[in-house]
């Protein structure tokens, strides 16, 4: 197997406090691996055990198939380097000296540093863009520069595995990106496996190939960013309500923390007819304002479908390119019937999703408050040759209100639901 690091049934406790419990993990070569989790969830301890700084009390860690307990300090050091959150030195060393320390596991004590060692350190400095700092004193450097020098030292160790404990927590945005880009580049160029603790979930999402979510010493979820970084998981692990969307850059989950401390559920159900991204901002807005949402009919893999999934919106879904089956239609109808209000987003309409409009003319839905978002003129969104437009005109006739955008959407919903309730 391609498994570079294998962790099996690992447990660890400090005194009587269990810090890691039955952790199983398998890490592939060349993978950028992110550990996320609240403070005290055992991430740093896990890194320490994997890097041999702590001995596993139960369970086994294999590095390239070898049990870490049976490995000599030097062989571990040739295989793995560790980058801490920040490094401060009490005594002043030159940058080039600090980088050269990375060669220690290879140095013969009596011969000292060879020309090869110097060349490797030199290259590590070039790679991390620290060559110009070589004669500077380490302590005079800025946080970002220091972290680059420590990365150069780690590279000079010629490791296959790079372990980083919150490597960017002390840095400003520019340097965070700089350091993470550098680590990512190492993974790609040198087939390095990087395991890092990151606190910023969006950074974890943007850089991580694989994400492990930890809580209370246990692994709660692991998988790709899309599989792990969902609103549901984040709520469970960080006890925080978030809204998850898709970053337009790089197509990765993007997590928005909600400015309102807690979402108070209003107990009002809203069904959204959308698709192709027309519903994304509406879902985000209404979700953060405490409405219970459903959506449909959405094609699996559609942008609105992804956002619905990530925010635990009930979905009437359909496989792509088959139109809307009776089943999906029935589901959509059921969700709409259960809702207190329906929102029709400014979606494009073609033959395959026309039935979404037909739904709104069903007898049993006639009394439901319906709010239409009409940001573009409907004619431009009609790809059915006019059929949809006719339906649309009929639907418009029975709508509660028509809005040009979603700014005042929640007020309109509340108003419509209110007057409806009074009836």
């Amino acid at each position: 197997m391609d498994s570079h690091i294998q962790v099996e049934k690992l447990s660890f406790s400090y005194d009587y406090k269990k810090v890691l419990e039955q952790v199983d993990m398998s890490i592939k070569k060349g993978c950028f691996f992110c550990l996320v989790g609240p403070n005290g969830s055992g991430k740093s301890t896990l890194l320490k055990v994997i890097s041999s700084a702590l001995k596993p009390q139960q369970g086994v860690v294999y590095l390239e198939g070898r049990n870490i307990v049976h490995m000599k300090g030097r062989s571990v050091a040739k295989l793995l380097s560790f980058v801490p959150q920040n490094t401060s030195l009490e005594f002043d060393f030159k940058v080039s000296d600090v980088v050269l320390m990375g060669r220690y596991p290879y140095i013969n004590k009596l011969k000292g540093e060879t020309r090869e060692d110097l060349t490797i350190a030199e290259k590590a400095m070039e790679y991390t863009n620290t060559t110009h700092l070589r004669d500077r004193s380490f302590m005079e450097l800025s946080g970002g520069e220091r972290q680059r020098v420590i990365l150069a030292q780690a590279l000079a160790q010629e490791p296959d595995i790079l372990i980083l404990d919150e490597p960017v927590s002390h840095l400003d945005l520019q340097h965070q990106v700089e350091i993470l880009n550098l680590i990512k580049k190492m993974c790609v160029d040198r087939k390095l496996t990087a395991i890092t603790v990151l606190h910023d979930l969006n950074m974890a999402s943007a850089y991580g190939d694989y994400i492990v979510m930890m809580k209370d010493g246990k692994i709660m979820r692991q998988g790709t960013p899309f599989e792990t970084l969902t609103a549901y998981n984040i709520k469970e692990i960080f006890s925080t309500d978030v809204y998850v969307s898709v970053s337009p850059v790089g197509n990765k989950p993007y997590i928005y923390t909600l400015t309102r401390p807690n979402i108070e559920k209003r107990g009002i159900k809203v069904h959204i007819i959308c698709g192709g991204g027309s519903g994304s901002s509406i879902i985000g807005k209404l979700h953060s304002e405490g409405f219970d949402l459903s959506s449909g009919v959405l094609t699996i893999g559609d942008l609105d479908w992804k956002i619905s999934k990530e925010n635990d919106v009930l979905i009437a879904e359909e496989v792509p390119f088959v139109g809307i089956s009776d089943e999906a239609y029935a589901m959509n109808r059921k969700l709409a019937a259960e809702a207190d209000a329906i929102v029709l987003a400014g979606l494009y309409l073609g033959k395959s999703n026309m039935r979404n409009l037909e739904l709104l003319l069903e007898e049993d839905l006639k009394g439901k408050p319906l709010i239409i978002i009409e940001d573009d003129s409907f004619a431009e969104r009609d790809y059915t040759g006019g059929t949809a437009l006719q339906l649309y005109e009929l639907i418009k006739g029975r709508s509660s209100s028509i809005l040009a955008d979603s700014k005042r959407l929640s007020e309109e919903i509340l108003k419509a639901v209110g007057t409806h309730g009074e009836k």
């Binding site: 400090y14 005194d15 890097s51 041999s52 700084a53 000599k72 300090g73 030097r74 062989s75 571990v76 050091a77 040739k78 793995l80 380097s81 560790f82 801490p84 490094t87 030195l89 009490e90 005594f91 002043d92 060393f93 030159k94 000296d97 600090v98 320390m101 990375g102 220690y104 596991p105 140095i107 004590k109 160790q157």
Partner: protein, 334 residues
Amino acid sequence: MEKSNKKNWLVPSILVVLLAAALLLAAATGAVRISTKEIIEILTKGTDTVNASILMDIRLPRVLLAAVIGAGLAAVGGVMQSIFKNPLVDSYTLGMSSGAALGAVISIITGINVSIMGIETTGVFAFAGAVLTLFFVYSLAYTRSRMSINSLLLAGVAVSYFLASVISFLMMLNNDKIEHIVFWTMGSLSMATWNEFYLASAIILPATAVLLYYTRELNILVMGEDAAHHLGINTAVLKNILLITCALIVGVVVSTGGTIAFLGLVAPHIIRLVAGSDNKKVIPYSALLGAVLLVLSDTAGRLLIQPVEIPVGVMTSIMGGPFFIFLLRRQKAK
């Protein structure tokens, strides 16, 4: 490259010249002046004059012992500062010197002072005192598998004071031996003999060589113990080797010259100001500088208010104290 090579040789060359000059000066001056020419004559021809016996029997062993002890103390200071990543640590601040002094005092009081194959029990007691104190202080500072440098310094100073008062108490109870004890607590080289010099050299020189052997690892320890571990160093073993070697040197120093404060603290710092923090340079250069400083301090102590001799430990404290305060303030400014 060539330029830096030249620079690399500059500092040690100056130190060697200084040491030679200090030794010569120390040998020449005192109650009786002996000219350089005469010194060379005595050394090469072995003349049998009064001056010759002053030089050979009294001054030379003392001056050479000062050089060896000074070198050992300074090397120990440099090593301990790196191990504990703190500029204020040395054998004195960690209580080792006081522990060694107490060991020596106990041996004097109990009268267990036999010499087996040239090794005096006083020395063995001093060594044991240094090691025990070190590990006691160390264990005080080490809680929950982590060591805080602040608690180490605090524990060292506290234990130091405690041991000093135990020594004072013992002095009170043993009035008859008070002069002998004062000799240990103040640090003095006035009783130096060739035997002591040979014994001190036989232990301090190889022990210093051990410290020099580990200077590369010492550099890495400055990065932190975790970093050292991740570079493949067995930090626990390394620290034990280094600390026991340091304790050995301190034990020998105390048993031959008493407690000599501040030298181990000051010498490495002066070197760092001049030559940077690379321990491959700091440790050997500090040893040379320590030798120079102790020879000069001892000579100054002999000359300043003749015919009274100021103990060398008092001299180093008078000069080292202000420097220590200067370091503290500099660190605060950081």
